[in-house]
Amino acid sequence: MPRTIHLKVNGKQHAIEAEPDTMLLYVLRDQLGLHGPKFGCGLSQCGACTIHLDGAAVRSCVLPATAAEGREITTLEGLGSVDKPGPLQQAFIDEQAVQCGYCINGMIMTAQAFLDSHPDPSRDDIKQALDNNLCRCGTHMRIVRAVERAAKNWRPAS
C-alpha cells in the first residue's frame, strides 16, 4: 500500500505518497512535475531518465523511490533554467546540440557527473563516458563538442 516517502530533490524536501516499489522516475515526473528526466526504456539501457544521486549519475527508471530517501537527488532542473542555464546547458545551447532533444537530459546529467570527476577529459574520454547513453537522431557529434566546450572552463562541484 502507498506510504509517505521523503525525498530531497534539487535542495528541497518533499513528502509524497507512493507505493514503496514505485520507481523514482514516476515520482519525479508525475508527482513532482519535474520533466527533465524522461522515460525511454524502463530497462536502464538508454539513459534518458538519468538523475544524480549524491552526485553520481544513476538511472531513475530502475531505482525504487524508497532507495533515494535520505540522499541528495538532482535533476536536470537542478543544473539551471532557461533564464540561468548551467555551464553544460549553456554549452549545449551554444553548440545547438539538440535535434528532438529527448535524450539530452541523459547526456547532460551523465556528462555533468563525468566532468565533476574528470575535469580535463580527452575527446575519447568523453565518448567513453557517454557510450551507454543512446541518441537516435544522430546528434552525437554536437553532443561531444558541447561537452568539450564546457570542459574547457570546468569547475567541479564542491
Binding site: M1, A18, E19, D21, T22, M23, Y26, R29, D30, G33, L34, H35, G36, P37, K38, F39, G40, C41, G42, L43, Q45, C46, A48, T75, L76, E77, L79, G80, S81, V82, P85, Q89, F92, I93, Q96, V98, Q99, C100, G101, Y102, C103, I104, N105, I108, K127, Q128, L130, D131, N133, L134, C135, R136, C137, G138, T139, H140, M141, R142, I143, V144
Partner: protein, 783 residues
C-alpha cells in the same frame, strides 16, 4: 514547438494545450480586422470571434477547420509586437519550425526572435499535409512565404491609412513601419509597429487559397521579396526550443497532463495474429489505483490512476520484455505461428503477390548480356528496421459524449483527426487533435497507432486516458521499415564499358497505415498500399531493365522510415555500380561520371571529391598488411530532386570484424538552404543514423512475433563508434534553385558508401545489411 513563452509556461497543466491561438483570441477580446486584401480596403470591423469551439460541458463539441484563404489562419500580430505563425506542419526534431519561421519573418520584415510558431493543432492550423518525405520546407515553405508576403501588404495598407501617406512612402524594418522622405513630421507620427497597428485584433482578411495540402496555393497574388534582399533566410539562427530542452522546461507530449486523466498501458497479443482467449483479472484490484481492464475483441489494455499501477497491472496480464509463450501472463492467447522463418524472409518476398512497375526499360538487356565480355550478378538484401524513437509512443485521448480530443505528437495531425473520427464513428468536426512535440520520429513510428489505443481506452472508461507504450511495445509493434531483396545483373564489353544493367526489386509496402488497435477490435482504419520503386535511375546505360515488384503487407505492418525504400535501393544500385567499376578496373568516381548526364548529379559528385581530395584509382589494390585495413567508398543519390554525394573512409578490423567509419564528406544539393546550421544538424543526423542502420540494425522475429524488443536485442550506434569528422559542402545553394528537401536524402548513400569502402579495404563485398562483425568475419574468412 516554439509556442509563445507565456502560453508554454503553463502548458503542461492546462487541458487545451497547443491552443495558444485560442488563448490569443480570448485575450484580444475577439475583435477582428475585416477587409479584403486585394479588393478595396474596408473599414476595420469589430465583430465577435466566431471560430472559438463550443465548449458546452458534456454535450457535443465541434472544432471548426481553419480556412487557409484567410490571413489569420497563418498569422497573428500581438500588441507587444510579437507575432505567431500557424502551420499545419509539425516538428519531429528536424528544426523545421526555424526554417519556416525564417521564411515568414523574411517576407514580413519582422524580427525572427519575436516570431513564434504554433504547429499542427487541428483547430489552430491549416491542413498542409503530413510532415514527411522531406517536404516541409519544399511545399509548406512557399505557402507560408506567400501568406507572410500578403500579411506585409495588409499591414502596410493599414499603416498607410493610419499615417495618412501612400503606401509607396512607407518602409518596414523589424516590424516597424516608417514614413520615408517626409521631413518635418514628428517621430511618433512617422513610425508605428505592427503590434500597434493591429492593436490586438485578428487579421481577418481574405488573402485567397486554392487546392489542398501539398498542392495548396496561398495568396497567389502576393508580392514576394526579391531573394537578393534576404537578410534572414540563409542565415543560421539559434533554435528557440533548445534552451527549454536542455533545462527540462520544454513541454513534450509526454509531459502533458489533462484534468481527471488516467494512465493506460496496452497488452499486445502474443503472436501477431493471436486471438485473445481469456483474461484472468484476479489480483488486479489489489493494485492501488487500478481502475479497469479494457478488452474489445483482441484489443487488451489496462487503466489506472497512476503510471506505476498501470505498468504493474499490464505486466500481470503479460506485458513484458520477454514472453515465454501465449499463456505467459493472466491473459491467454491462441498459439499463432504465421510469420515466415527469418531465414526464409527473402524467398517469402520473392513469392509475395504484387504488381510490377517498370522504372526503366531501354534496349535489349538479354541480348547484351549474351554478347558481353564479362557479366556480373549479385543479390542485395535488407531487413526490417524499427524507428526506435528514444521516447516511446504516447497519446492522450478524451473521448466524451459526441466528441473526442487528443494530445498527440503525430506527424499528421489533420489526417489522424480523420482517422480517429472514423475509428470512433464521430463526424470529423467533433474531433480535435492538439499537437504537442514528441520524441524524434524518423517516419511513421507508432504515434498514430497509439492514438487509437488511447481512444479505445478513453471511450471505455469515460475519462481522459494517457497511453504510453513500453519499450517492448515500441520495438515490437511500431510500423517497420520493410525488408527488400534486390537482384542485379550487369555486363561489360571488352573495353570495360557497361552495356547492360538489370535491377529487379521485391518491395513490400511502406505505406501500411492501418492502425493496429483498429485491426485488433475488428474495425480496420487506414490503408495498405503496395510498395513502390523508391528509386531514381539516372545512369545512361545502353541496355537497361529496372523493375519494382510492389507488394502489400509481408508479415509485419510496415510504414515509412527515413528515406523509405530508397535507403535500400540506393544501397543496391550504388554498390553494384561499384562492382562493375571494380570489374572494369576503373576508378569508381570516373566510372560513375561516364554514365551520368544530369548536371546537378555530376556537380555533387565532383564537389564531394574535391572536398575529400579524391585521387583516381581503381578500388582494392590488394590485401593490406596488418590486422586493420582502410578503404574509401563513394555513392550518391537523387531523392526527389535533392542530390547528395557521400564519400567515407572506413577501417575494418580483420580480427574482430568491426567496421568503423572515420571520415565522412557529404556534398548536398537541396537548392537554397534556409537555415544552414539546421541543415548541417540534419545531415549529421542522417549520416549517423544511416551508419547505425548499416552496421547494426535488424529486427529479429520468430514465427509468432518480433523478438527484438529492447536496445540490447536491437543495438544502435554508440558514441565510441561515431566518425571522427563529418564534412559538408552545400552545392547550388542559391535562390535560383528553389529549396528542396533535406530531412532524408543524405541517409540514402551511406550503406553503399560503407560497402564500397569495405571492398576497397579488403576485397570483400557486403551485400546483406546489417554489416555486423560476425557477418564481416565470415565474409573475410571466405575471401
Amino acid at each position: 514547438m516554439n509556442a509563445r513563452p507565456e502560453s508554454a509556461s503553463a502548458a503542461s497543466d492546462i487541458s487545451d494545450f497547443g491552443a495558444s491561438r485560442r488563448q490569443f483570441l480570448k485575450t484580444s477580446g475577439g475583435l477582428v480586422l475585416g477587409f479584403s486584401l486585394f479588393g478595396p480596403l474596408a473599414a476595420v470591423a469589430q465583430q465577435p470571434a466566431t471560430r472559438l469551439p463550443a465548449s458546452a460541458s458534456g454535450g457535443a463539441q465541434t472544432f471548426p477547420a481553419v480556412d487557409p484563404a484567410r490571413l489569420d489562419a497563418w498569422l497573428a500580430i500581438h500588441p507587444d509586437n510579437t507575432a505567431t505563425l500557424f502551420t499545419g506542419k509539425v516538428e519531429q526534431g528536424n528544426g523545421s519550425p526555424n526554417a519556416l519561421a525564417q521564411i515568414a519573418a523574411e517576407e514580413l520584415d519582422f524580427p525572427f526572435d519575436r516570431l513564434f510558431v504554433v504547429m499542427g493543432t487541428t483547430t489552430s492550423t491549416v491542413d498542409q499535409g503530413p510532415t514527411y518525405g522531406s517536404m516541409a520546407v519544399r511545399y509548406a515553405g512557399p505557402q507560408i512565404r506567400h501568406a507572410a508576403a500578403a500579411g506585409r501588404q495588409v499591414l502596410l495598407s493599414m499603416a498607410g491609412k493610419r499615417l495618412r501617406v501612400p503606401v509607396e512612402q512607407l518602409a518596414v524594418r523589424d516590424g516597424v513601419v516608417s514614413v520615408v522622405g517626409a521631413p518635418g513630421l514628428s517621430v511618433t507620427s512617422r513610425s508605428i509597429t505592427y503590434g500597434e497597428l493591429v492593436d490586438g485584433k485578428r487579421l481577418d482578411v481574405t488573402i485567397g487559397a486554392t487546392g489542398k495540402t501539398f498542392g495548396m496555393k496561398v495568396a497567389p497574388d502576393a508580392r514576394l521579396k526579391d531573394p537578393s534582399k534576404y537578410t534572414i533566410v540563409g542565415t543560421s539562427v539559434p533554435r528557440k526550443d533548445i534552451p527549454g530542452k536542455v533545462t527540462g522546461e520544454f513541454t513534450y507530449v509526454h509531459d502533458v497532463k489533462v484534468p481527471n486523466m488516467l494512465h493506460g498501458r496496452v497488452v499486445r497479443p502474443y503472436g501477431i495474429g493471436s486471438d485473445l482467449l481469456s483474461v484472468d483479472e484476479s489480483g488486479l484490484r489489489d493494485i492501488p489505483g487500478f481502475v479497469a481492464v479494457v478488452r474489445q475483441r483482441n484489443f487488451l489494455g489496462v487503466v489506472a490512476e497512476t503510471e506505476w499501477s498501470a505498468i504493474k497491472a499490464a505486466e500481470k496480464l503479460g506485458s513484458k520484455r520477454v514472453r515465454k509463450g501465449p499463456t505467459d501472463g493472466q491473459a491467454k492467447w491462441s498459439d499463432w505461428q504465421g510469420l515466415p522463418a527469418m531465414d526464409d524472409l527473402w524467398e517469402t518476398l520473392r513469392h509475395a503477390s504484387g504488381k510490377d512497375t517498370s522504372v526503366a526499360r531501354r534496349g535489349d538487356v538479354d541480348a547484351a548480356l549474351r554478347g558481353a565480355a564479362k557479366t556480373l550478378k549479385a543479390t542485395y538484401s535488407t531487413p526490417f528496421e524499427t524507428h526506435g524513437s528514444i521516447g516511446p509512443e504516447l497519446a492522450i485521448a478524451d473521448v466524451g459524449n459526441g466528441y473526442a480530443k487528443f494530445w498527440a505528437g503525430t506527424q499528421m495531425p489533420h489526417q489522424a483527426r480523420r482517422d480517429m473520427a472514423e475509428l470512433l464513428d464521430l463526424p470529423v468536426e467533433n474531433v480535435e487533435v492538439n499537437w504537442v512535440e514528441a520524441s524524434g520520429q524518423y517516419g511513421r513510428n507508432g504515434l498514430e497507432p497509439v492514438m487509437a489505443d488511447a481512444a479505445i481506452m478513453s471511450r471505455a472508461v469515460g475519462r481522459p486516458v494517457r497511453v504510453q507504450w513500453m519499450r517492448w511495445d515500441s520495438h515490437g509493434w511500431d510500423p517497420k521499415e520493410p525488408p527488400i531483396v534486390q537482384d542485379l545483373e550487369g555486363a561489360l564489353d571488352h573495353t570495360g564499358n557497361v552495356i547492360a544493367w538489370r535491377h529487379h526489386m521485391w518491395v513490400p509496402t511502406f505505406s501500411d497505415t492501418r492502425l493496429l488497435a483498429s485491426e485488433l477490435i475488428g474495425k480496420p482504419v487506414g490503408q495498405i498500399h503496395l510498395g513502390d520503386a523508391a528509386i531514381q535511375y539516372e545512369y545512361q546505360f545502353d541496355h537497361a531493365d529496372v523493375v519494382a515488384h510492389g507488394e502489400g503487407r509481408v508479415g509485419l505492418i510496415t510504414a515509412w522510415m527515413r528515406a523509405p525504400g530508397q535507403f535500400e535501393t540506393t544501397f543496391a544500385m550504388e554498390a553494384f555500380v561499384d562492382e562493375l567499376a571494380a570489374a572494369a578496373q576503373q576508378d569508381p568516381l570516373a566510372f560513375r561520371l561516364k554514365y551520368l548526364k544530369e548536371p546537378r548529379a555530376i556537380a555533387v559528385l565532383k564537389a564531394a571529391a574535391r572536398q575529400y581530395g579524391w585521387k583516381s584509382r581503381p578500388a582494392f589494390q590488394g590485401k593490406q598488411p596488418g590486422g586493420k585495413a582502410t578503404g574509401r567508398g563513394i555513392a550518391w543519390v537523387n531523392r526527389d530532386g535533392s542530390r547528395v554525394a557521400t564519400i567515407a573512409d572506413v577501417v575494418v578490423d580483420r580480427d574482430t570484424g568491426e567496421i568503423r567509419v572515420k571520415r565522412v564528406v557529404v556534398a548536398h544539393d537541396c537548392g537554397l538552404v534556409i537555415s544552414p546550421d539546421g541543415m548541417r544538424n540534419q545531415i549529421e543526423g542522417n549520416v549517423i543514423q544511416s551508419i547505425s542502420r548499416t552496421l547494426h540494425e535488424e529486427i529479429a522475429f520468430d514465427r509468432a512475433h518480433v523478438t527484438s524488443r529492447d536496445w540490447a536485442s536491437y543495438p544502435i550506434l554508440r558514441f565510441n563508434e561515431i566518425p571522427d569528422s563529418i564534412e559538408m559542402v552545400f552545392v547550388n545553394n542559391s535562390a535560383q534553385y528553389p529549396s528542396n528537401g533535406g530531412g532524408e536524402p543524405s541517409t540514402c548513400p551511406t550503406a553503399a558508401v560503407i560497402s564500397n569502402a569495405v571492398y576497397d579495404a579488403t576485397g570483400i563485398r557486403l551485400r546483406q545489411k546489417p554489416f555486423r562483425p560476425e557477418r564481416v568475419k565470415a565474409a573475410l574468412a571466405r575471401a
